[in-house]
């Protein structure tokens, strides 16, 4: 039989001003199992807590009910409080008589008092059924794994490694760097993108605590917070670690005219190649679909010339297992394939209609045109350049509903670059809104205005060729008049979408995506770098469209969280997780399908029946993975699953106390 103590709080006048607190305390004293009942002005204060401690000792209480504010505010306070008196911290039940009573019934004190009594009765009923729960301890592997080696992944890797932890980066391209290394200059300061990102790539490569897998992908993830086991697929590079990056092979390779993905097809590469000269690692890969040795079965030129015998045509995919304590996903973004969607802009048929990323490669001094802005069709310098913003963004009908956030700023940057590099040029920017919310962003936009960029409020409805030029039809909604621009080149600011294969990453690692396919953070405001899965964090454009300052800030934020996690050699596991009553479990495993955290696994047990032994399958809960959501308990038909601290029996006793 439980010996329950009830403590009713006034919360100053918050509760006491409406609810007749002494009356509630008097009523509570009569409830079944209650041996002590008291009230106090501020239960959470030092004297209030002392009062609970001494009552527990004096009246040999086995369970405690505190009727006060929301458990979200003070459950932990009171758990610690009763633990000081030697009780199991989970022998506490709270009744929320503030948010759920006095605040919402300010004008009906009598009813509020009655309701408070009911709420306390409910809590007492549950307290009678409570059982001690014990936190488990989970050991933590002091190593982090980062998926995606863009600026987000690199920044986080450096932060985590500098704090003394080992880091593994998995990048699927042959080099790390992500989109940032493609860019020319970065807003709002216009510093050169490569100058600030390549040194970081090199630091990551040289860091003693960082190990980088490029041309690799995550194949499988098992385990839970503190103890993940990740299988990494190292795709066959056909070049082994003896390579020194001397460059002989791609100089000698006889293939040519293979569009280089890094330059979005605007430059050519060989079958053995590095994406760009500053690639990290500086080790080539063989594109087996283009290599003559693989396609025709004969060539071997690179192998012949390689001074270190690094070429290995026989190399196969390799699988490596990495054991880590935390995972950071930083897989970034891709740009929407506008050509498939926007017939009115020519379905990609007109060579002089390009995207912002093509433009970046073009203005980049180390890009395919050596920094010259030219028309792809004839290599001529354009005089009038039109920019169209929100292509694929803010367009529910055709593409995405959201704003891609970086394009207003990079379009202002591109406009500035055209006006600066091409004397006498003219820039027209079609926009719906100009969104420049960031430090020094508005100033940057105004500078571009001042330089003479013609901002025209309206969405372009048609682009068509006339002679060797393009007619861009839009409107000036401020004047209420149609606008026609005779343009030489059109640059589309296309929507950022989750990187290709993001959904697979989410599935493999085991966390959720939002309605647009971006990775879902645990809380949009308060937990922006965590996923709903313990030990899995996120950073950068994979969580939503973002520019570099925001990406880096989020990456460092995620790194701080991971450093915090890895600073413990073991962590406490929540005891309020699901438990299987194996005797009742029928082994249907309906729960396994329901569990969003993949915490339920089948397990074989041996049962002794009269005269024989049988082996059968039952569900088993992985205590590291279970997040205590309770979904499985609803799915279980025989009622074998119970959430500790919220068992069916406990919940029913509450219902009875309230409704009977």
């Amino acid at each position: 039989m439980q010996r329950i103590g009830v403590f009713i709080c006034w919360c100053g006048s918050n509760i006491g001003g409406v609810v007749d607190v002494p009356a509630v305390a008097r009523e509570a004293a009569k409830f079944h199992g209650v041996v002590y009942s008291a009230e106090y002005k501020y239960m959470c204060s030092e004297p209030g807590q002392e009062m609970i401690v001494s009552a527990i000792k004096e009246h040999r209480l086995t369970g405690v009910v505190v009727a006060s504010c929301s458990p979200a505010l003070h459950e932990i306070t009171f758990r610690k409080n009763i633990a000081r008196a030697g009780l199991n911290p989970y022998m506490l039940e709270m009744a929320n008589i503030r948010e759920q009573c006095s605040w919402v019934h300010q004008h009906e004190p009598e009813k509020a008092t009655k309701k408070a009594i009911d709420l306390v009765r409910r809590a007492v009923a549950k307290a009678g059924k409570l059982e001690p729960l014990f936190e488990s301890t989970i050991p933590v592997t002091k190593k982090a794994l980062i998926i995606g080696g863009g600026i987000a992944g690199i920044q986080a890797a450096l932060d985590i490694a500098d704090a003394g932890n080992e880091v593994v980066i998995i990048e699927r391209e042959p080099t790390i760097g992500g989109k940032m290394v493609l860019l020319d200059k970065t807003f709002p300061t216009l510093d050169c993108s490569a100058c600030i990102s390549t040194p970081k790539m090199v630091s990551a490569a040289q860091h003693p605590n960082i190990k980088i897998y490029t041309y690799a992908e995550v194949e499988e993830v098992k385990g839970y917070i503190g103890n993940f086991s990740v299988v990494v697929k190292q795709k066959a590079r056909s070049v082994n670690s003896k390579c020194t990056g001397c460059g002989t092979c791609w100089a000698k390779c006889p293939t040519k005219n293979i569009p280089n993905e890094f330059d979005l097809g605007m430059s050519m590469r060989k079958a053995i190649y590095i994406p760009f000269p500053q690639a990290v690692p500086n080790r080539p890969v063989i594109d087996r679909e283009r290599c003559r040795q693989f396609v025709k079965g004969k060539c071997g030129v690179c192998k012949k010339f390689c001074p270190t015998d690094a070429i290995d045509y026989e190399q196969g995919d390799e699988f490596v297992t990495e054991n880590v304590g935390a995972i950071l996903v930083a897989t970034g973004y891709d740009l929407i394939d506008w050509a498939k969607i926007y017939g009115e802009y020519g379905y990609g048929k007109y060579p002089d209609v390009i995207t912002g990323l093509h433009f970046e490669r073009m203005v980049n001094a180390s890009g395919p045109t050596g920094g010259k802005i030219v028309r792809p069709s004839d290599g001529e310098q354009p005089k009038t350049v039109v920019f169209v913003k929100c292509v694929g963004s803010r367009d529910e009908a055709k593409a995405r509903e959201y704003c891609s956030r970086a394009c207003c700023m990079y379009t202002a940057k591109h406009a500035h670059q055209v006006l600066e590099k091409i004397p006498g040029s003219q820039v027209v920017i079609f926009y719906i809104d100009v969104r420049c919310a960031g430090k020094a962003y508005e100033e940057f936009y105004l500078k571009t205005l001042h330089e003479g960029a013609i901002y025209t409020r309206g969405r372009v409805s048609k682009i068509y060729p006339e002679g060797n030029r393009l007619i861009v039809k839009g409107a000036d909604t401020l004047l209420g008049r149609p606008v026609e621009v005779v343009a030489d080149m059109v640059v589309l600011a296309t929507a950022m979408i989750p990187a290709e294969g993001s959904a697979d990453v989410a599935r493999t690692v085991g966390f959720t995506v939002d309605k647009d396919g971006f990775f879902q953070e645990a809380h949009p405001k308060l937990r922006p770098v965590e996923t709903n899965t313990g030990g899995v964090f996120l950073a950068g454009a994979c969580q939503g469209p973002k520019d570099i300052p925001d990406t880096v800030a989020q990456a460092s934020g995620a790194a701080a969280k991971i450093i915090g996690l890895l600073s413990h050699s073991e962590i406490a596991g929540e005891p309020t997780i699901a438990r299987v009553n194996e005797a009742m479990c029928s082994g249907c495993l309906a729960c396994r399908e329901i569990c969003p955290y993949r915490a339920i696994e089948p397990k074989e047990i041996v049962e002794r029946l009269p005269g024989k032994q049988v082996t059968r399958v039952v569900a088993s809960v992985n205590s590291g993975l279970c997040q205590g959501c309770g979904a499985c308990t609803v799915a279980c038909r025989p009622g074998a699953l119970n959430l500790k601290g919220f068992t069916n029996e406990q919940l029913l006793s509450e219902v009875d106390a309230l409704c009977l």
């Binding site: 009038t384 013609i454 000036d476 004047l479 008049r481 149609p482 606008v483 026609e484 621009v485 005779v486």
Partner: protein, 191 residues
């Protein structure tokens, strides 16, 4: 007229620059917030709002701007200039546009044409006497706008009450004022 497309091609307009030279105001800075229009006491009578004028200057729509009533109806009260968040003296832009229209002998239409005639009549009396002379200015305005008896009753009443005088007041240095006018004319021709 308003539905004609605005065509932006290689013939780049210098309107924005010309306005800058005249008024020292950079109209490209305007981001079309509309505050100038919201505060303008004359906006109700205008054919284009002040922010539309600013926008048209940016786009180089010189004919629309110089033929508008707005630039002549503007009272140069400068409410817009004081309120503009981009620190543009919109009233000075209006003034410059008036001058530019006059230089090109664009007379304006309807009410704005009359404003022009009135301004000229006022300046003519100034030129003659070194100081304005209401009766003559009214007379000139009436004759030039083909409405000889316009406001005649009101004029008589004002005369009877001693508010206006037939005989002009002359400043002593009439010739110096005349000299100013001549100099402006010389400068204009030279420019």
């Amino acid at each position: 007229m308003m539905q004609q497309p605005i065509v932006i091609d290689d013939r780049k307009s210098d309107l924005s620059k010309e306005v800058l030279l005249h008024s020292a105001q950079d109209s490209s800075l305007c981001f079309q917030c509309g505050k100038c229009t919201a505060g303008c006491p004359v906006a109700f009578a205008m054919d284009l709002t002040p922010n539309q004028i600013m926008r048209m200057v940016q786009l180089g729509l010189i004919d629309d701007v110089l033929n508008s009533q707005t630039i002549r109806l503007c009272a140069y009260c400068s409410t817009c200039s004081v309120r503009c968040p981009r620190n543009i003296a919109v009233a000075d832009v209006m003034d410059s546009l008036r001058i530019m229209a006059a230089e090109r002998n664009i007379p304006g239409t309807d009410r704005s044409r009359k404003v022009n005639i009135f301004n000229q009549a006022f300046l003519d009396t100034l030129n003659m006497f070194g100081r304005s002379h209401e009766v003559l200015a009214m007379l000139l305005f009436n004759l030039r706008s083909y409405q000889p008896f316009h406001n005649a009753k009101l004029g008589l009443k004002m005369f009877n009450n001693g508010k206006i005088k037939l005989k002009p007041d002359r400043v002593k240095a009439v010739n110096e004022v005349k000299e100013i006018f001549q100099r402006i004319n010389r400068l204009r021709k030279g420019a």
